[in-house]
């Protein structure tokens, strides 16, 4: 640990050593280290390669804004790419791999991109996407695929657990620095329920490092908060996003720092807060000088953080370069720890406030009105060239192994902006800060977000503390709590001279230098790229961002935003506030996919709806098919059978003997009331008010746009009661549709609806032996005379109360039996028992589908796709001509709906008996507008029919019903040409004799 200082380090515990591996090489650190501080202590200056040019990159920051030190953590099911080393707490055995290099970090073949930099300008991808096309395909794309991309996607399923958590608070304070602590104290003292969250593991933010007595002040505040039962504090919890009406997402990392611990790894908090205080601090900006991306060049505040918090020296000779007073603190800290500071290079002629004198008193040389013209070095900075900030030559070269830079501070306005808070520009600080007149507003129209402290543009610690207290008090008052006057902790903060925005160093840098000035380290965007984008006409900051990739990926404007905007506005000759910022979008820093999924994975991904016979199916070889949230048996497998063989067996057995189908998933909606008949006449295309009690009728429902939406059999149960069957997937949708019309349009009609889908089990008893089986059970008379086709009766079968419908979706003699759900399994098993010697077999959904297709019955979702009207399907017989109105009638009167060119339903029979590919298109003479072969029809359902021992299909064909016998061509995607004859869609028992026996 050659860069570890002998003493100090607020966070590290030297009695607790930790071992880690970086690219397989062992390193040592302490509890309290981050991976970044441990790497720096080890002397590892190159931690990754840049995205585009594969330049060597080192650690720039000490927090979430780190652009370079992204690593892959863990292996196998625990692997996670793109983790920031600066926010990864060290634990024993941590394994990290650097990213974006090949074959190794030290020797990276992609670094040749750097030599080709002039051929990879802004908008490179867009330009090469266009022309020359072959060049892209054969040259650029293979190369880019090999070398581009951050990190590797995990290959194994995530082995960790995650959870979602809900909270309701009066005041949520995001950020545990001095302003956040003061805000929480003020709101807590008012009696509000307060949640205070801090993204790092430590409280206090910059105050303990930067302010004399700061650590003690923070400790005292924390003690006060601990004593308030209405205040909850949580560390390692990041405010990820602020959304409408006080909804906030927070992301808590529970075990990342102690992977051996039990429990969920991450927790996603879904919080409703009456008021939100964003005390999210500020982020230091880099300076744009040539070579500012060399390893060893870092942010000034980060440099002193590594010294103060981790006892790690960023270098042995550190040049400080700044345009503001704050970086003097870094010079003083470094010197106090025995690190050589050859010079403070200050761009301001007038220099700093009292800190300047302090630095000089400590023996530090201060060069005013100066700039770094160039940082030099290969894999680490080894010298800087110094000269005047504007005009003039390089005056001297200073040897150094690190540079601490400060371009000023930008408030973290992300959370403020997520839900619409607007920003103002400060000329004094050259940054955007929240506009108190245009805050995010809640559902009462009042502000629900307040920024506090440096996040609010209040840049000095003692003022930030007072602002925090004031905002906390105001938030509590707005949430309805009487807030007592709170006096903020007094802090000693020296006066500061104004900063001076310096967007280029030197300000008159030539193109040779500008091509080496990085604005966005992570995405390899340079000053020259933004200037080129402006020259090419990208005037909108949003367009420039996408064209150059400035501020993309994990950066999201944290480091690069203001510097990029400044360059763009200079190039456009506009004021920065007129150019504006890009949109800040959540999450503030990346959150894990696991946390987003929470518990919703595997079996708990979504609820599973089970019919009363579900367990029986599972025990009897069910090959499941998901149907909405149900699982239905596709077929029941027997030993040695393929799925296709099982399906064929089930079809043949049902047609020849007896089949049982679990039809419980069918939607069942009761419609009752004096106006129920009138209501159903509006809902269905056919007439139901005239249906006799005791009878059933097949009905069609259309949308107001005329398209077929659902179908099913309706039974009239009594004078004022109908039971509507819907498709399995349509039950909830159709019930909602009914309620929509009843509540919002015909609210004076007296109708009540009830979705009773799950109250009944439903068993279809199908096949020539169906009646025999029911007679054996004993009970209701199920003879043709007593229960004719399309009738229903109520009574008992085998002692079980039932309602029996004589309806058939297979073309066979068929009874659908509705039974109270808790007795459905009993009836199912009784049917299997009495049917044993009749050859009874259960059958699944595929046999159901095949048998309905053999009969030419349509299936919602196969023959319909939201563009098909009943008339297309030859269902005119189910459309009442007598009714004045029904939903969809007006739409079906439009000329396009009556166009004879509309494709119509026909049967399709392959010439050679093979099965047509589902969805295949028929092609005819001529070409369409795109020069493709003209399409004249398509296959909507296609099966192998075990009954007919050949392929059968249905399809929609131009003038189809008029073209019976014609053979059409269907080119398959496999290159095969299928030929099929247009036939009647009813392939089996066209007279309907078998179902009506």
């Amino acid at each position: 640990m050659k860069h570890r200082l002998k003493t100090g380090g607020r966070f590290v515990d030297r009695s607790a050593p930790r071992t880690f591996f970086f690219n397989g090489i062992k390193g040592k650190g302490y509890r309290g280290d981050t991976l970044a501080s441990a790497l720096m202590a080890k002397g590892q200056s190159v931690v990754g390669r840049s995205f585009k040019y594969h330049r060597p990159r080192g650690i720039v920051a000490a927090g979430a804004e780190e652009p370079n030190a992204l690593v892959g953590l863990g292996a196998g099911a625990g692997h996670e790419p793109n983790q920031r080393a600066t926010t990864t707490e060290l634990y024993d055995g941590l394994r990290a791999e650097s990213q974006n290099h090949w074959p190794s970090l030290k020797t990276d073949i992609g670094a040749v991109n750097g030599l080709l930099a002039r051929f990879l300008p802004a908008g490179f991808y867009y330009k090469t996407f266009i022309h020359p096309r072959p060049f892209w395909k054969h040259v650029f794309e293979p190369f880019i695929r090999q070398t581009a991309g951050l990190g590797k996607a995990p290959t194994a399923a995530d082995a960790d657990r995650y959870e979602h958590f809900y909270a309701f608070v009066d005041v949520l304070v995001v950020g545990g620095g001095i302003a956040g602590l003061e805000a929480a104290r003020a709101a807590g003292a008012a009696g509000a329920r307060v949640l205070l969250v801090e993204q790092t593991a430590q409280w206090g933010g910059r105050t303990p490092v930067d302010i004399a007595g700061g650590a003690e002040a923070v400790a005292a505040l924390l003690a006060e908060l601990d004593a308030m039962p209405n205040v909850t504090q949580r560390t390692r919890m990041m405010g990820a996003g602020v959304y409408d009406h006080g909804f906030v997402l927070c992301y808590e990392q529970l075990t990342d720092h102690r992977p051996e611990a039990a429990g969920p790894r991450h927790r996603l908090w879904k919080i409703r807060a009456k008021q939100v205080v964003t005390a999210t601090g500020a982020i230091e900006r880099p300076l744009s000088f040539a070579g500012n991306d060399l390893p060893g060049v870092m942010l000034a505040a980060a440099a002193r953080d590594y010294v103060e918090n981790f006892a790690v020296a960023p270098g042995r000779r550190v040049v400080v370069v700044t345009n503001n007073d704050d970086a003097y603190r870094t010079a003083l800290t470094l010197r106090a720890h025995g690190i050589d500071v050859p010079a403070v290079v200050d761009a301001r002629q007038g220099g700093a406030g009292p800190l300047l004198e302090e630095a000089r008193a400590a023996g530090i040389r201060v060069q005013l009105g100066a700039a770094i013209h160039k940082a030099k070095g290969r894999t680490r900075v080894d010298a800087v060239e110094i000269g005047a900030v504007t005009g003039g030559e390089v005056s001297e070269t200073l040897a150094c192994d690190a540079v601490a830079m400060s371009g000023g501070w930008s408030p973290v306005v992300h959370l403020w902006s997520h839900c619409g808070g607007k920003l103002l520009w400060s000329d004094a600080h050259a940054h955007f800060y929240p506009d108190p007149a245009l805050p995010p507003t809640g559902r009462d129209g009042a502000a629900f977000v307040r920024a506090a402290g440096t996040a609010n543009g209040v840049m000095r610690a003692h003022e930030a503390a007072s602002d925090g207290a004031a905002q906390g008090q105001a938030a509590a008052a707005e949430a309805g709590f009487d807030a007592p006057e709170i006096v903020a902790t007094p802090l000693e903060t020296p006066d500061e001279a104004p900063m001076r925005p310096v967007w280029l160093m030197p300000e008159d840098a030539d193109i040779g230098l500008r091509e080496k000035m990085w604005l966005d380290f992570q995405n390899d965007v340079k000053v020259s790229d933004v200037q080129l984008a402006a020259r090419e006409g990208f005037e909108s900051v949003e367009h420039t961002k996408r064209y150059t990739t400035l501020g993309m990926a994990t950066d999201q404007g944290k480091l690069s935003n203001i510097n990029g905007l400044a360059i763009l506005s200079q190039a456009l000759n506009e004021e920065i506030p007129r150019v504006g910022t890009t949109t800040f979008r959540p999450p503030y820093t990346p959150i894990s996919m696991g946390a987003i999924a929470g518990e919703a994975r595997g079996e708990t991904f979504q609820p599973l709806r089970c019919t009363p016979m579900h367990a029986w199916h599972a025990a009897h070889g069910a090959h499941w098919e998901p149907v909405g949230q149900w699982r239905r048996p596709y077929a029941y497998m027997r030993a040695g059978e393929s799925v296709a063989q099982a399906v064929a067996r089930e079809v043949k057995n049902t047609r020849q003997a007896l089949g049982l189908l679990d039809a419980s998933t069918l939607g069942k909606i009761l419609v009752k009331g004096p106006d129920a008949g009138r209501f159903l006449d509006m809902l269905y295309t056919n007439s139901f008010s005239k249906l006799k009690v005791g009878r059933c009728r097949y009905g069609l429902m259309c949308s107001e746009n005329g398209f077929l939406s659902d179908d099913g059999v309706v039974a009239r149960l009594s004078d004022d009661t109908w039971l509507c069957h819907t498709t399995t997937g349509g039950a909830d949708r159709i019930h909602a549709w009914m309620e929509d019309w009843l509540q919002c349009e015909w609210w004076d009609w007296q109708v009540h609806t009830l979705n009773v889908t799950e109250q009944y089990g439903q068993i279809a008893v199908v096949g020539p032996q169906a009646r025999v089986a029911l007679e054996r059970l004993g009970g209701i008379d199920v003879s043709k005379a007593a229960l004719p086709f399309m009738g229903w009766v109520e009574g008992t079968l085998g002692g079980v109360p039932v309602r029996v419908y004589r309806i058939s979706f297979s073309g066979e003699l068929s009874y659908e039996i509705a039974v109270p759900a808790h007795r459905a399994l009993e009836l199912w098993e009784a049917l299997l028992a009495v049917g044993a010697d009749l050859g009874v077999m259960p059958y699944g959904t595929e046999a159901l589908h095949i048998m309905r297709a053999e009969k030419g019955f349509i299936m919602i979702g196969d023959e319909t796709d939201g563009t098909v009207i009943p008339q297309d399907l030859g269902l005119d017989w189910a459309i009442s001509k007598k009714k004045d109105d029904y939903l969809g009638k007006r739409a079906q009167q439009r000329p396009h709906m009556r166009d004879p060119e509309r494709w119509k339903l026909v049967g399709l029979q392959t010439v050679d008996g093979t099965v047509l590919p589902d969805g295949a298109y028929a092609v005819g003479e001529g070409e369409n507008a795109l020069g493709q072969r003209r399409m004249i029809g398509r296959v909507t359902s296609s099966y192998h029919s075990p009954t007919l021992a050949r392929g059968i299909a249905m399809g929609l064909v131009e003038h189809g019903p008029e073209r019976m016998g014609e053979v059409l061509e269907f080119p398959g995607t496999d290159g095969t040409l299928y030929r099929a004859r247009i036939v009647d869609p009813v392939f089996y028992d066209p007279e309907g004799a078998k179902q009506d026996v």
Partner: protein
């Protein structure tokens, strides 16, 4: 994520409990209507930047439809009311007038509502 008051349940509910239903107070045009009226009913919506009357169903609650008067820009909610009605009730219009002077008179004129 919006929070709306369900006028049936009497509680504030999260958007995840609700299903949106588009613009409220449409007049249905059926088989006897002309093409323009039918097109306007089926397809043409105001999509205002500002005050909007919109249908919501408390799907994962009472199942009832209600109407929210909401500003599409600021998301301010002026009030919610039960769906069965042809026009917004007076107290809702008053609430909007108090917050957005001028909007309601223009709206009433366009909709022919007193």
């Amino acid at each position: 994520m919006l929070m709306l008051h369900c006028p049936y349940c009497g509680v504030d509910v999260d958007e995840t409990e609700l299903t949106p239903g588009g613009a409220a107070h449409l007049t249905r045009f059926g088989p006897e209507s002309n093409d323009d009226a039918f097109e306007a009913y089926l397809f043409l919506r105001d999509n205002p930047k500002g005050v909007h009357f919109e249908r919501w169903r408390h799907t994962y609650g009472c199942g009832k439809w209600f109407i929210a008067a909401r500003c599409t820009v600021t998301l301010e909610v002026f009030g919610t009311y039960k769906a069965p009605c042809k026009a917004p009730p007076a107290h809702i219009l008053d609430a909007i007038r108090a917050r957005r002077p001028g909007v309601i008179s223009a709206w009433s004129k366009a909709e022919g509502v007193a």
